[in-house]
Protein backbone atom coordinates (compact mmCIF):
# COMPACT_ATOMS: atom_id res chain seq x y z
CA UNK A 1 0.00 0.00 0.00
CA UNK A 2 1.52 3.31 -0.97
CA UNK A 3 1.94 5.74 1.92
CA UNK A 4 1.58 8.75 -0.33
CA UNK A 5 -1.38 8.98 -2.67
CA UNK A 6 -1.64 11.90 -5.08
CA UNK A 7 -5.05 13.52 -5.16
CA UNK A 8 -6.26 15.38 -8.17
CA UNK A 9 -7.74 18.77 -7.24
CA UNK A 10 -11.38 19.32 -8.20
CA UNK A 11 -10.41 21.96 -10.69
CA UNK A 12 -6.99 22.87 -12.02
CA UNK A 13 -7.92 26.40 -13.03
CA UNK A 14 -10.93 28.67 -12.48
CA UNK A 15 -12.77 30.43 -15.26
CA UNK A 16 -10.90 33.60 -14.31
CA UNK A 17 -7.62 31.74 -14.77
CA UNK A 18 -6.71 31.34 -11.10
CA UNK A 19 -4.45 28.30 -10.71
CA UNK A 20 -4.28 25.79 -7.83
CA UNK A 21 -1.47 27.75 -6.20
CA UNK A 22 -3.24 31.07 -6.71
CA UNK A 23 -1.14 32.22 -9.66
CA UNK A 24 -2.42 33.70 -12.89
CA UNK A 25 -1.59 31.94 -16.20
CA UNK A 26 1.42 34.15 -16.97
CA UNK A 27 2.79 34.26 -13.41
CA UNK A 28 5.91 32.37 -12.42
CA UNK A 29 6.83 30.91 -9.06
CA UNK A 30 9.52 32.63 -6.97
CA UNK A 31 13.05 31.96 -8.16
CA UNK A 32 16.27 32.14 -6.17
CA UNK A 33 19.70 31.51 -7.66
CA UNK A 34 23.11 31.23 -6.02
CA UNK A 35 26.45 30.73 -7.69
CA UNK A 36 29.60 29.16 -6.26
CA UNK A 37 27.99 27.12 -3.52
CA UNK A 38 30.44 24.20 -3.69
CA UNK A 39 34.13 24.28 -2.85
CA UNK A 40 35.56 21.34 -4.80
CA UNK A 41 33.64 21.75 -8.05
CA UNK A 42 35.08 24.06 -10.70
CA UNK A 43 31.70 25.72 -10.97
CA UNK A 44 28.44 25.32 -9.10
CA UNK A 45 25.03 26.81 -8.56
CA UNK A 46 21.96 26.28 -6.43
CA UNK A 47 18.51 27.10 -7.72
CA UNK A 48 15.31 27.33 -5.76
CA UNK A 49 12.32 27.52 -8.06
CA UNK A 50 8.95 27.17 -6.38
CA UNK A 51 9.40 24.01 -4.34
CA UNK A 52 12.30 22.77 -6.45
CA UNK A 53 15.77 22.65 -4.94
CA UNK A 54 18.43 21.93 -7.54
CA UNK A 55 22.16 21.74 -7.20
CA UNK A 56 24.39 21.85 -10.26
CA UNK A 57 28.13 21.33 -10.45
CA UNK A 58 30.62 21.45 -13.29
CA UNK A 59 34.03 19.80 -13.43
CA UNK A 60 36.42 20.61 -16.21
CA UNK A 61 37.65 21.07 -18.76
CA UNK A 62 39.61 18.11 -17.39
CA UNK A 63 41.25 14.90 -18.57
CA UNK A 64 38.90 12.36 -20.16
CA UNK A 65 38.30 8.99 -18.54
CA UNK A 66 37.82 6.50 -20.10
CA UNK A 67 40.45 7.43 -22.64
CA UNK A 68 38.65 6.07 -25.68
CA UNK A 69 36.02 8.78 -25.34
CA UNK A 70 38.52 11.53 -26.13
CA UNK A 71 37.56 13.82 -29.01
CA UNK A 72 40.76 15.11 -30.60
CA UNK A 73 39.30 18.36 -31.94
CA UNK A 74 36.92 19.45 -29.19
CA UNK A 75 35.77 18.89 -25.65
CA UNK A 76 33.49 16.03 -24.72
CA UNK A 77 30.42 17.22 -22.85
CA UNK A 78 28.72 14.87 -20.42
CA UNK A 79 25.67 15.56 -18.31
CA UNK A 80 24.01 13.60 -15.57
CA UNK A 81 20.58 14.41 -14.22
CA UNK A 82 19.88 12.65 -10.98
CA UNK A 83 17.00 12.70 -8.52
CA UNK A 84 17.76 12.15 -4.87
CA UNK A 85 15.84 9.30 -3.21
CA UNK A 86 14.28 11.87 -0.87
CA UNK A 87 13.33 14.36 -3.60
CA UNK A 88 9.81 13.02 -4.11
CA UNK A 89 6.88 12.21 -1.76
CA UNK A 90 7.45 8.49 -2.25
CA UNK A 91 11.08 7.42 -1.96
CA UNK A 92 12.75 6.89 -5.32
CA UNK A 93 15.07 4.02 -5.96
CA UNK A 94 18.57 5.49 -6.24
CA UNK A 95 20.28 5.36 -9.62
CA UNK A 96 19.22 6.25 -13.12
CA UNK A 97 15.82 5.20 -14.46
CA UNK A 98 14.75 5.60 -18.08
CA UNK A 99 13.42 9.09 -17.47
CA UNK A 100 16.69 10.26 -15.89
CA UNK A 101 18.67 8.83 -18.79
CA UNK A 102 16.53 10.71 -21.30
CA UNK A 103 16.69 13.92 -19.28
CA UNK A 104 20.46 13.65 -19.00
CA UNK A 105 20.59 13.48 -22.77
CA UNK A 106 18.28 16.42 -23.45
CA UNK A 107 19.99 18.54 -20.79
CA UNK A 108 23.36 17.83 -22.38
CA UNK A 109 21.94 18.77 -25.77
CA UNK A 110 20.41 21.93 -24.31
CA UNK A 111 23.75 23.11 -22.92
CA UNK A 112 26.24 21.86 -25.48
CA UNK A 113 25.36 24.40 -28.22
CA UNK A 114 26.33 27.17 -25.76
CA UNK A 115 29.81 25.80 -25.08
CA UNK A 116 32.83 26.60 -27.24
CA UNK A 117 33.88 22.94 -27.18
CA UNK A 118 36.50 23.63 -29.86
CA UNK A 119 38.40 25.67 -27.27
CA UNK A 120 39.15 22.57 -25.21
CA UNK A 121 40.26 19.75 -27.53
CA UNK A 122 40.81 16.37 -25.91
CA UNK A 123 39.19 17.28 -22.60
CA UNK A 124 35.85 16.68 -20.92
CA UNK A 125 33.34 19.00 -19.30
CA UNK A 126 31.21 17.11 -16.79
CA UNK A 127 27.88 18.59 -15.76
CA UNK A 128 25.98 17.25 -12.78
CA UNK A 129 22.40 18.17 -11.98
CA UNK A 130 21.20 16.93 -8.60
CA UNK A 131 17.52 17.28 -7.82
CA UNK A 132 17.24 17.49 -4.02
CA UNK A 133 13.57 18.41 -3.92
CA UNK A 134 11.23 18.13 -6.87
CA UNK A 135 8.16 20.23 -7.53
CA UNK A 136 7.50 20.20 -11.31
CA UNK A 137 9.90 21.69 -13.80
CA UNK A 138 13.08 20.07 -12.47
CA UNK A 139 14.71 19.78 -15.89
CA UNK A 140 14.35 23.47 -16.69
CA UNK A 141 15.44 24.51 -13.21
CA UNK A 142 18.37 22.11 -13.62
CA UNK A 143 19.34 23.64 -16.95
CA UNK A 144 19.32 27.12 -15.41
CA UNK A 145 21.49 25.91 -12.55
CA UNK A 146 23.87 24.02 -14.84
CA UNK A 147 24.22 26.99 -17.15
CA UNK A 148 25.24 29.14 -14.17
CA UNK A 149 27.64 26.45 -12.97
CA UNK A 150 29.27 26.33 -16.42
CA UNK A 151 29.68 30.08 -16.49
CA UNK A 152 31.06 30.17 -12.95
CA UNK A 153 33.53 27.43 -13.89
CA UNK A 154 34.88 29.84 -16.48
CA UNK A 155 33.90 27.66 -19.43
CA UNK A 156 33.87 29.73 -22.64
CA UNK A 157 30.25 30.07 -23.73
CA UNK A 158 28.31 31.67 -26.54
CA UNK A 159 25.73 32.72 -24.01
CA UNK A 160 23.83 31.54 -20.98
CA UNK A 161 21.14 28.93 -21.50
CA UNK A 162 17.90 29.85 -19.80
CA UNK A 163 14.87 27.63 -19.47
CA UNK A 164 11.25 27.53 -18.40
CA UNK A 165 8.28 25.23 -18.97
CA UNK A 166 4.94 26.19 -20.39
CA UNK A 167 1.79 24.15 -20.39
CA UNK A 168 -1.86 24.00 -21.24
CA UNK A 169 -4.59 23.63 -18.65
CA UNK A 170 -7.96 23.55 -20.34
CA UNK A 171 -8.14 26.62 -22.52
CA UNK A 172 -5.33 28.39 -20.71
CA UNK A 173 -1.70 28.44 -21.71
CA UNK A 174 0.16 28.66 -18.41
CA UNK A 175 3.75 29.48 -17.69
CA UNK A 176 5.87 27.45 -15.25
CA UNK A 177 3.36 24.63 -14.54
CA UNK A 178 3.11 23.57 -10.91
CA UNK A 179 2.92 20.05 -9.56
CA UNK A 180 -0.85 19.68 -10.09
CA UNK A 181 -0.64 21.02 -13.64
CA UNK A 182 2.33 18.81 -14.36
CA UNK A 183 0.42 15.73 -13.16
CA UNK A 184 -3.04 16.44 -14.54
CA UNK A 185 -2.65 19.30 -17.01
CA UNK A 186 -3.35 18.81 -20.68
CA UNK A 187 0.05 19.60 -22.06
CA UNK A 188 3.57 20.33 -20.87
CA UNK A 189 6.33 21.94 -22.89
CA UNK A 190 9.81 22.51 -21.45
CA UNK A 191 11.79 25.09 -23.39
CA UNK A 192 15.38 26.38 -23.21
CA UNK A 193 16.98 29.15 -25.19
CA UNK A 194 20.18 31.09 -25.58
CA UNK A 195 18.52 34.44 -25.12
CA UNK A 196 21.15 36.56 -26.84
CA UNK A 197 20.71 34.77 -30.16
CA UNK A 198 17.13 33.57 -29.47
CA UNK A 199 18.14 30.02 -30.42
CA UNK A 200 16.11 27.17 -29.00
CA UNK A 201 18.35 24.54 -27.40
CA UNK A 202 15.70 22.43 -25.71
CA UNK A 203 12.16 21.81 -26.80
CA UNK A 204 10.01 18.94 -25.67
CA UNK A 205 6.27 18.60 -25.48
CA UNK A 206 3.83 16.08 -24.12
CA UNK A 207 0.10 16.53 -24.63
CA UNK A 208 -1.94 18.18 -27.33
CA UNK A 209 -1.62 21.78 -28.49
CA UNK A 210 -3.25 23.25 -31.58
CA UNK A 211 -0.98 25.17 -33.90
CA UNK A 212 -2.19 28.47 -32.41
CA UNK A 213 -1.77 27.22 -28.85
CA UNK A 214 1.70 25.97 -29.73
CA UNK A 215 2.60 29.38 -31.04
CA UNK A 216 1.20 31.08 -27.97
CA UNK A 217 3.08 28.66 -25.71
CA UNK A 218 6.36 29.36 -27.51
CA UNK A 219 5.77 33.07 -27.17
CA UNK A 220 4.88 32.92 -23.48
CA UNK A 221 7.85 30.64 -22.87
CA UNK A 222 10.18 33.08 -24.56
CA UNK A 223 8.95 35.91 -22.35
CA UNK A 224 9.41 33.82 -19.21
CA UNK A 225 12.88 32.78 -20.29
CA UNK A 226 13.81 36.40 -20.86
CA UNK A 227 12.98 37.01 -17.21
CA UNK A 228 14.93 33.95 -16.03
CA UNK A 229 17.90 35.14 -18.07
CA UNK A 230 17.93 38.47 -16.23
CA UNK A 231 17.89 36.66 -12.87
CA UNK A 232 20.75 34.42 -13.99
CA UNK A 233 22.86 37.36 -15.09
CA UNK A 234 22.35 39.07 -11.79
CA UNK A 235 23.19 35.92 -9.83
CA UNK A 236 26.42 35.63 -11.78
CA UNK A 237 27.44 39.23 -11.28
CA UNK A 238 26.44 39.58 -7.63
CA UNK A 239 29.66 38.15 -6.12
CA UNK A 240 31.67 40.63 -8.18
CA UNK A 241 29.84 43.86 -7.42
CA UNK A 242 31.99 46.93 -7.48
CA UNK A 243 32.63 48.32 -4.05
CA UNK A 244 33.71 51.92 -3.83
CA UNK A 245 34.63 53.89 -0.73
CA UNK A 246 35.90 57.38 -0.52
CA UNK A 247 38.19 58.14 2.37
CA UNK A 248 37.18 61.49 3.76
Amino acid sequence: MPLYVERKPESLITEEGIRTDGRLPHEMRPIKMMVGVLEKADGSAFVEWGGNRILAAVFGPREVHPKHMVLPDRALVRARYNMAPFSTPERRRPGPDRRSIELSKVIREALKPAIFTENYPGSVIDIFVEVLRSDAGTRVAGINAASLALASAGVAMRGLVSACSVGRVGNFIVVDPNHDEDMWGDSDMPLAMMMESEEITLLQADGTLSEEEFKEALDLGRKAIRFVYEVQKEALKRPYYLVERRVV
Partner: protein, 268 residues
Protein backbone atom coordinates in the same frame (compact mmCIF):
# COMPACT_ATOMS: atom_id res chain seq x y z
CA UNK B 1 25.87 12.31 -32.13
CA UNK B 2 23.28 9.72 -31.31
CA UNK B 3 24.90 6.50 -32.46
CA UNK B 4 28.36 7.63 -33.53
CA UNK B 5 27.11 7.94 -37.07
CA UNK B 6 29.98 10.23 -37.87
CA UNK B 7 32.27 7.39 -38.76
CA UNK B 8 29.70 6.10 -41.23
CA UNK B 9 29.78 9.12 -43.46
CA UNK B 10 32.81 10.06 -45.44
CA UNK B 11 33.88 13.67 -45.31
CA UNK B 12 33.51 14.01 -49.06
CA UNK B 13 29.93 12.82 -48.77
CA UNK B 14 29.27 15.27 -45.96
CA UNK B 15 30.46 18.21 -48.03
CA UNK B 16 28.42 16.97 -50.97
CA UNK B 17 25.23 16.71 -48.88
CA UNK B 18 25.68 20.19 -47.45
CA UNK B 19 26.38 21.68 -50.85
CA UNK B 20 23.34 19.99 -52.39
CA UNK B 21 21.11 21.12 -49.53
CA UNK B 22 22.13 24.73 -49.99
CA UNK B 23 21.04 24.36 -53.62
CA UNK B 24 17.70 22.87 -52.64
CA UNK B 25 18.60 19.26 -53.46
CA UNK B 26 19.10 15.90 -51.78
CA UNK B 27 21.38 13.01 -52.68
CA UNK B 28 18.48 10.69 -53.48
CA UNK B 29 16.65 13.35 -55.48
CA UNK B 30 13.84 13.85 -52.97
CA UNK B 31 12.22 17.16 -52.13
CA UNK B 32 12.96 18.57 -48.66
CA UNK B 33 9.52 17.60 -47.38
CA UNK B 34 9.26 14.23 -49.06
CA UNK B 35 9.41 10.81 -47.42
CA UNK B 36 11.33 7.87 -48.81
CA UNK B 37 9.11 5.01 -50.03
CA UNK B 38 7.29 3.31 -47.16
CA UNK B 39 6.58 -0.37 -47.43
CA UNK B 40 4.86 -2.71 -45.00
CA UNK B 41 5.87 -6.32 -45.56
CA UNK B 42 3.30 -9.07 -45.93
CA UNK B 43 3.65 -12.21 -43.88
CA UNK B 44 4.02 -13.37 -40.31
CA UNK B 45 7.38 -12.99 -38.66
CA UNK B 46 6.64 -13.27 -34.95
CA UNK B 47 4.37 -14.79 -32.32
CA UNK B 48 3.11 -11.35 -31.38
CA UNK B 49 -0.52 -10.30 -30.91
CA UNK B 50 0.11 -7.72 -33.61
CA UNK B 51 3.17 -6.94 -35.68
CA UNK B 52 4.55 -4.85 -38.47
CA UNK B 53 7.74 -5.08 -40.50
CA UNK B 54 8.18 -1.72 -42.09
CA UNK B 55 10.69 -0.32 -44.53
CA UNK B 56 11.33 3.39 -44.84
CA UNK B 57 13.80 3.60 -47.69
CA UNK B 58 16.68 1.41 -46.52
CA UNK B 59 15.66 1.60 -42.87
CA UNK B 60 13.92 -1.54 -41.63
CA UNK B 61 12.12 -2.04 -38.36
CA UNK B 62 10.04 -4.83 -36.87
CA UNK B 63 7.57 -4.08 -34.11
CA UNK B 64 5.70 -6.70 -32.10
CA UNK B 65 2.93 -6.19 -29.57
CA UNK B 66 2.58 -8.76 -26.80
CA UNK B 67 -0.13 -8.83 -24.16
CA UNK B 68 -0.05 -10.24 -20.67
CA UNK B 69 -2.03 -10.01 -17.44
CA UNK B 70 -0.79 -8.21 -14.39
CA UNK B 71 -1.40 -5.72 -11.65
CA UNK B 72 -1.96 -2.05 -12.52
CA UNK B 73 0.32 0.67 -11.19
CA UNK B 74 -0.87 1.78 -7.73
CA UNK B 75 -1.53 5.34 -8.91
CA UNK B 76 -3.61 4.22 -11.91
CA UNK B 77 -5.73 1.32 -10.64
CA UNK B 78 -8.29 1.84 -13.41
CA UNK B 79 -5.87 1.69 -16.33
CA UNK B 80 -4.07 -1.05 -18.19
CA UNK B 81 -0.29 -1.01 -18.41
CA UNK B 82 1.52 0.03 -21.55
CA UNK B 83 5.28 -0.54 -21.82
CA UNK B 84 7.51 0.42 -24.73
CA UNK B 85 11.05 -0.66 -25.44
CA UNK B 86 13.35 -0.19 -28.41
CA UNK B 87 16.35 -2.32 -29.26
CA UNK B 88 19.05 -1.31 -31.67
CA UNK B 89 20.17 -4.72 -32.83
CA UNK B 90 23.84 -5.21 -33.69
CA UNK B 91 22.69 -6.43 -37.11
CA UNK B 92 21.31 -2.99 -37.93
CA UNK B 93 24.55 -1.04 -38.04
CA UNK B 94 28.28 -1.59 -37.58
CA UNK B 95 28.14 0.97 -34.75
CA UNK B 96 25.43 -0.81 -32.73
CA UNK B 97 26.76 -3.01 -29.98
CA UNK B 98 25.03 -5.71 -27.99
CA UNK B 99 24.00 -4.82 -24.47
CA UNK B 100 21.33 -2.98 -22.54
CA UNK B 101 19.60 -0.04 -24.28
CA UNK B 102 21.78 3.07 -24.34
CA UNK B 103 20.46 6.61 -24.02
CA UNK B 104 19.71 6.74 -27.76
CA UNK B 105 17.53 3.63 -27.61
CA UNK B 106 15.81 4.83 -24.45
CA UNK B 107 15.05 8.24 -25.93
CA UNK B 108 13.77 6.61 -29.10
CA UNK B 109 11.37 4.34 -27.23
CA UNK B 110 10.18 7.22 -25.08
CA UNK B 111 9.57 9.50 -28.07
CA UNK B 112 7.39 6.86 -29.74
CA UNK B 113 5.69 6.06 -26.43
CA UNK B 114 5.00 9.73 -25.72
CA UNK B 115 3.28 10.30 -29.05
CA UNK B 116 1.00 7.31 -28.48
CA UNK B 117 0.34 7.98 -24.80
CA UNK B 118 -0.19 11.75 -25.09
CA UNK B 119 -3.38 11.29 -27.09
CA UNK B 120 -4.49 8.03 -25.44
CA UNK B 121 -4.23 6.31 -28.80
CA UNK B 122 -4.73 3.09 -26.89
CA UNK B 123 -7.62 3.25 -24.48
CA UNK B 124 -5.90 2.02 -21.34
CA UNK B 125 -9.18 2.37 -19.45
CA UNK B 126 -10.65 -0.42 -21.57
CA UNK B 127 -7.88 -2.81 -20.51
CA UNK B 128 -9.03 -3.27 -16.93
CA UNK B 129 -10.44 -6.62 -15.82
CA UNK B 130 -10.63 -5.98 -12.06
CA UNK B 131 -9.78 -2.41 -11.01
CA UNK B 132 -6.66 -2.19 -8.88
CA UNK B 133 -6.02 -5.91 -9.21
CA UNK B 134 -5.99 -7.26 -12.73
CA UNK B 135 -5.37 -5.49 -16.02
CA UNK B 136 -3.97 -6.21 -19.45
CA UNK B 137 -0.33 -5.27 -19.89
CA UNK B 138 0.56 -4.28 -23.43
CA UNK B 139 4.22 -4.55 -24.40
CA UNK B 140 5.38 -2.68 -27.45
CA UNK B 141 8.75 -4.07 -28.52
CA UNK B 142 10.54 -2.21 -31.28
CA UNK B 143 13.34 -3.90 -33.15
CA UNK B 144 15.63 -1.93 -35.41
CA UNK B 145 16.88 -4.29 -38.11
CA UNK B 146 18.58 -1.99 -40.58
CA UNK B 147 19.52 1.57 -39.79
CA UNK B 148 19.53 4.15 -42.53
CA UNK B 149 18.21 7.09 -40.57
CA UNK B 150 14.91 8.29 -39.14
CA UNK B 151 14.16 5.52 -36.69
CA UNK B 152 11.67 7.76 -34.88
CA UNK B 153 9.18 7.93 -37.74
CA UNK B 154 9.63 4.37 -38.98
CA UNK B 155 9.17 2.96 -35.48
CA UNK B 156 6.13 5.14 -34.82
CA UNK B 157 4.47 4.05 -38.05
CA UNK B 158 5.28 0.38 -37.45
CA UNK B 159 4.11 0.65 -33.82
CA UNK B 160 0.77 2.16 -34.79
CA UNK B 161 0.25 -0.54 -37.40
CA UNK B 162 1.24 -3.31 -35.01
CA UNK B 163 -1.04 -1.94 -32.28
CA UNK B 164 -3.91 -1.46 -34.70
CA UNK B 165 -3.53 -5.04 -35.90
CA UNK B 166 -3.36 -6.50 -32.40
CA UNK B 167 -5.90 -8.99 -31.16
CA UNK B 168 -5.66 -10.08 -27.56
CA UNK B 169 -7.37 -13.02 -25.86
CA UNK B 170 -10.52 -12.16 -23.97
CA UNK B 171 -10.48 -12.79 -20.25
CA UNK B 172 -13.28 -13.34 -17.80
CA UNK B 173 -13.35 -13.50 -14.04
CA UNK B 174 -15.47 -16.36 -12.67
CA UNK B 175 -15.70 -16.57 -8.89
CA UNK B 176 -12.31 -14.95 -8.62
CA UNK B 177 -10.78 -17.33 -11.12
CA UNK B 178 -9.23 -15.99 -14.30
CA UNK B 179 -10.60 -17.62 -17.40
CA UNK B 180 -8.84 -16.98 -20.70
CA UNK B 181 -11.32 -17.45 -23.50
CA UNK B 182 -10.82 -18.68 -27.04
CA UNK B 183 -12.23 -15.47 -28.47
CA UNK B 184 -10.09 -12.43 -29.19
CA UNK B 185 -10.70 -8.71 -28.90
CA UNK B 186 -9.18 -5.97 -31.01
CA UNK B 187 -6.87 -3.39 -29.52
CA UNK B 188 -8.56 -0.34 -30.88
CA UNK B 189 -6.55 2.64 -32.07
CA UNK B 190 -8.41 5.78 -31.06
CA UNK B 191 -5.98 8.16 -32.69
CA UNK B 192 -3.09 8.08 -35.14
CA UNK B 193 -0.34 10.23 -33.62
CA UNK B 194 2.49 10.34 -36.15
CA UNK B 195 6.05 11.44 -35.54
CA UNK B 196 7.72 13.63 -38.13
CA UNK B 197 11.49 13.98 -37.92
CA UNK B 198 13.41 16.87 -39.39
CA UNK B 199 17.05 17.85 -39.56
CA UNK B 200 18.59 21.22 -40.20
CA UNK B 201 21.47 21.34 -42.66
CA UNK B 202 22.85 24.84 -42.96
CA UNK B 203 19.74 26.96 -43.29
CA UNK B 204 17.58 24.21 -44.77
CA UNK B 205 15.06 21.96 -43.04
CA UNK B 206 14.76 18.39 -44.35
CA UNK B 207 12.06 15.85 -43.52
CA UNK B 208 12.84 12.12 -43.13
CA UNK B 209 16.65 12.28 -43.02
CA UNK B 210 18.83 9.39 -44.15
CA UNK B 211 21.69 8.29 -41.93
CA UNK B 212 24.06 10.47 -43.94
CA UNK B 213 21.83 13.50 -43.62
CA UNK B 214 21.51 12.86 -39.89
CA UNK B 215 25.27 12.68 -39.52
CA UNK B 216 25.93 16.03 -41.23
CA UNK B 217 22.96 17.79 -39.68
CA UNK B 218 23.31 20.84 -37.46
CA UNK B 219 20.16 20.12 -35.51
CA UNK B 220 17.34 17.58 -35.32
CA UNK B 221 13.80 17.46 -34.02
CA UNK B 222 10.79 15.14 -33.96
CA UNK B 223 7.24 16.49 -33.83
CA UNK B 224 4.11 14.36 -33.39
CA UNK B 225 0.78 15.38 -34.89
CA UNK B 226 -2.54 13.71 -34.07
CA UNK B 227 -5.77 13.25 -36.03
CA UNK B 228 -7.03 16.71 -35.09
CA UNK B 229 -3.90 18.33 -36.47
CA UNK B 230 -2.62 19.09 -32.99
CA UNK B 231 0.95 18.90 -31.80
CA UNK B 232 1.02 16.12 -29.22
CA UNK B 233 4.71 15.59 -28.58
CA UNK B 234 7.97 17.29 -29.46
CA UNK B 235 11.56 16.24 -28.94
CA UNK B 236 14.36 18.48 -30.04
CA UNK B 237 17.61 16.58 -30.09
CA UNK B 238 21.03 18.03 -30.94
CA UNK B 239 21.67 21.58 -32.15
CA UNK B 240 19.48 24.67 -32.09
CA UNK B 241 16.43 26.01 -33.96
CA UNK B 242 14.90 29.46 -34.17
CA UNK B 243 11.27 30.03 -33.21
CA UNK B 244 10.32 30.57 -36.86
CA UNK B 245 11.98 27.33 -37.92
CA UNK B 246 10.02 25.44 -35.25
CA UNK B 247 6.72 26.99 -36.33
CA UNK B 248 7.48 26.11 -39.94
CA UNK B 249 8.34 22.53 -38.98
CA UNK B 250 5.03 22.15 -37.16
CA UNK B 251 3.01 23.33 -40.15
CA UNK B 252 4.90 21.05 -42.56
CA UNK B 253 4.32 18.09 -40.22
CA UNK B 254 0.64 18.96 -40.02
CA UNK B 255 0.33 19.04 -43.80
CA UNK B 256 2.00 15.62 -44.13
CA UNK B 257 -0.22 13.87 -41.61
CA UNK B 258 -3.05 12.72 -43.96
CA UNK B 259 -0.60 11.04 -46.34
CA UNK B 260 1.07 8.99 -43.60
CA UNK B 261 -2.14 8.28 -41.69
CA UNK B 262 -3.60 6.66 -44.79
CA UNK B 263 -0.55 4.38 -45.02
CA UNK B 264 -1.15 3.33 -41.40
CA UNK B 265 -4.87 2.78 -41.94
CA UNK B 266 -4.32 0.79 -45.09
CA UNK B 267 -1.72 -1.45 -43.47
CA UNK B 268 -3.99 -2.22 -40.51
Amino acid sequence: MMFDQEILTHNLMKDYIRELAENGQRVDGRGFHEYRPIEVLNGTFTKAEGEAWLKLGETQVLVGVKADLGEPFPDTPDKGVFVSNAELLPVASPTFEPGPPDEGAIELARVVDRAIRSVDAIDLGSLVILPGKLVYMIFLDMYVLDYDGNLEDSLTLASLIALGRSEIPEVELKNGEIEVKESKRKLELKDIPINFSFVKIGSKILLDPTIEEESVSDASITVAINKDGKVCSVQKRHGTFSVDEILNIVSVAKSKWPELASIVREAI
